[in-house]
């Protein structure tokens, strides 16, 4: 996975001053959390369902191999094929080979974060295939040559005007020369253009929200129905998904179906919940001639048995992104990774590397809101802290910060010097402070303090430290 997370601060700064983008962030930071709260509060057993979902996933991960093998056996019984991919390269090569076997030219895709992780589109386009995303949001960002902004709403940050410009340029070749601005008409236009793509497609690639071990079914949960067209219209259906998506039974699945849409978009359920197993049978009215599932590891088994194992419980609802005050300030693209927000800050170092992704687990105030809303109760702040530990252990923490932490720890072991240092700091602050409206404030601090006074003053006390005054006998 290629990431550009080193540029987090620069990207964030640009995003904060981008007014259009800040307006777009409103739906994530305000609307989705309100809708989630409203639907969750109408379901008395919501919190109990979250516990069940967590427990099912814990048991799953403890027996992952067993469930995956059971799933494989059921898929094969139904006439489907399973392909195991250890890395993104292997996964992309398998998909390419399947497309080659099919003599395919035109490929349609429904939204899949795993294929974004694998950069599958780039791979297939590089091999000469026409690949078209059919989820409206994914389609828009594909036309704009952008990465998804959010794992659930990849283009929801864009305005109708931006989409209008994009469609106007892209749809000229489809004979649409009139500039459409109305939102409903924009959707209609995308529908008409995409319909042709569906009809001409040789292969449909989808992801999977869940894999059911007892039945060998893959589960697709969408709002647009495009995934169902992708799975049924073309002659071949290729499913690309992560190994952690398996759940044991349909009963287990039902638990997740009740929390996923509520956590993601605040819907009680999404518009389409479809279960697919195997290719078309003789008695079926429709369906693909072949049904292939590429099960992707790409770093996932390496997370098992480590402090970030719990991240594999993630069901990609995006609730933690919407709840995160950092995500809703800087937006998805600042993270430089297809996985953003708190879940991305934990996944990205696991899939890329600690060194290249270090900016992400540090970009958190540890407010804990993400953990509060996670439907499978992933302790996201603890895991971000785990990556900070790895960063510190590997001496990747910036040297100035490391030196400062070392000094602080040393002072902690020498209370009299700690006392002297805090008193000196107080005196220093008073020297550089000034009085404004009866309050003593510092407006410009040196060193690390620059980050503070860049956007705020520092209120400075007019008195010595609490401990020294207490020592001198002051009590009130």
């Amino acid at each position: 996975m290629h990431i550009t997370s080193e540029k987090f601060q620069e990207n964030a700064k640009a995003a904060i001053s981008d007014e259009q983008l800040q307006t777009g962030l409103f739906i994530f930071g305000k609307i989705f959390p309100l809708l989630r709260e409203a639907t969750a509060s109408k379901l008395p057993e919501f919190e109990a369902l979250r516990d069940s979902a967590r427990d099912i996933k814990i048991e799953n991960l403890n027996n992952l191999g067993t469930y995956l093998e059971a799933f494989e056996a059921r898929v094969e019984e139904a006439g489907g094929r399973i392909h195991w991919a250890r890395t993104s390269e292997e996964a992309n090569t398998i998909v390419e080979r399947l497309c080659e076997e099919a003599n395919a030219k035109n490929i349609i895709k429904s939204k899949s974060m795993v294929t974004e992780e694998l950069e599958l589109n780039d791979h297939l386009i590089g091999k000469g295939y026409n690949v078209v995303e059919t989820d409206l949001g994914e389609y828009i960002i594909q036309l704009r040559n952008e990465k998804p902004f959010h794992i659930v709403g990849p283009a929801l940050h864009l305005t109708a005007g931006q989409v209008s410009d994009t469609f106007y340029e892209a749809h000229k070749e489809h004979g649409r020369t009139e500039k459409v601005e109305d939102k409903v008409k924009l959707v209609e236009e995308a529908r008409i253009v995409l319909r042709e793509r569906f009809k001409n497609a040789d292969v449909g690639i989808t992801g999977a929200n869940f894999l059911v071990a007892e039945t060998g079914q893959i589960v697709l949960i969408t709002n647009e129905g495009n995934a169902d067209l992708s799975a049924t219209l073309p002659k071949r259906h290729i499913v690309v998904t992560g190994i952690e998506k398996v759940v044991p039974t349909l009963d287990d699945l039902s638990v997740f179906l009740r929390i996923l849409a509520r956590s993601a978009t605040g819907q009680e359920t999404s518009n389409y919940v479809s279960l697919y197993s195997g290719p078309r049978r003789a008695r079926d009215a429709d369906g693909p001639e072949s049904f292939d599932i590429v099960l992707v590891d790409n770093g996932r088994t390496d997370m098992l048995g480590t402090p970030v194992e719990e991240m594999l419980r993630c069901i990609r609802c995006g609730a933690c992104l919407n709840a995160c005050p950092v995500f809703t300030t800087v937006g998805g693209q600042s993270y430089g990774s297809v996985y953003s927000g708190p879940m991305g800050a934990v996944w990205t170092p696991a899939l890329a590397s600690v060194s290249s992704a270090a900016k992400l687990p540090n970009a958190s105030s540890f407010c804990g809101k993400c953990e509060e809303v996670c439907p499978v109760r992933i302790p996201l702040p603890s895991m971000m802290r785990h990556w900070r530990e790895k960063e510190f252990e590997s001496h990747l923490t910036p040297s100035g910060q490391r030196w400062g932490l070392g000094l602080w720890a040393w002072l902690g072991k020498h209370p009299s010097l700690y006392s002297a240092a805090t008193n000196i700091a107080g005196v220093g602050l008073r020297l550089i402070s000034k009085t404004r409206r009866g309050r003593r404030i510092a407006t410009s601090l040196p060193f690390i303090g620059q980050g503070w006074t860049q956007s705020r003053d520092l209120a400075v006390p007019s008195e010595p430290t609490f401990l020294s005054q207490y020592k001198d006998g002051r009590r009130r």
Partner: protein, 254 residues
Amino acid sequence: MTAQPTTSGHRIGLFATCLVNTMRPRVGFAALKLLEDAGYEVAVPGDQTCCGQPNYNSGDQESARDFARGFIQQFSNFDYVVVPSGSCAAMVKVHYPKLFEEDEPEKADIDAVAARTHELVSFLTDVAGIDRVEAAHATSVTYHDACSGLRELKIKQQPRTLLGSVEGLELKEMEDAEVCCGFGGLFCVKYPDVSGEMVRKKSEEILKTEADAIVTGDVGCLLNIEGALTRRGERTRAFHVAEVLAGFDTEDAS
């Protein structure tokens, strides 16, 4: 306070925290007053330093363990340890026990001190059983729920209950009172643009209430919010909840 002290005999060790000690000494004296008024004998161990949270949250576990060892040396002999900060109290109460394995010699002392440690306001309400204070301020305030206290220690109603007993004080709730102000310890200086924008949004919500002052339970958040407000020339004052509850003169905060 409501009742006559009935708690005599219980000794409290007050952990001031580095931010109170250095940046807001008044909060330490306010905490002393509140605890003594509640009938406790309070001591301030002179060799206390930091809870170690800056190191802990920067991945420096070894130093965090050293801070925890220093902490038990200073605070093991008290019936309670009280901290005028949700964040530092949560560090001791929630995170210290995770820093030591079951078979380590310090583990028993760490767990014991963690169990006896409380954030100031929730100690007053939940342990001391106090539901009102003797203080009067003819002013309006809005309360910001600092994250660690809110989510790790479940502090939500306690400060509102006690603030509600302050004569003349009007509480004007802001929207998004539970949203992080952007302090986050070293986060605010490592990501100054993001933190600055977060506290800008928080300031907007505070100003919308038209309250005379913003009150919160952590000096880190307090300094962040106060500094953002003074930078934009606002007159809204900022107080630690202990300063208000202790009846300290709110005209001269620092």
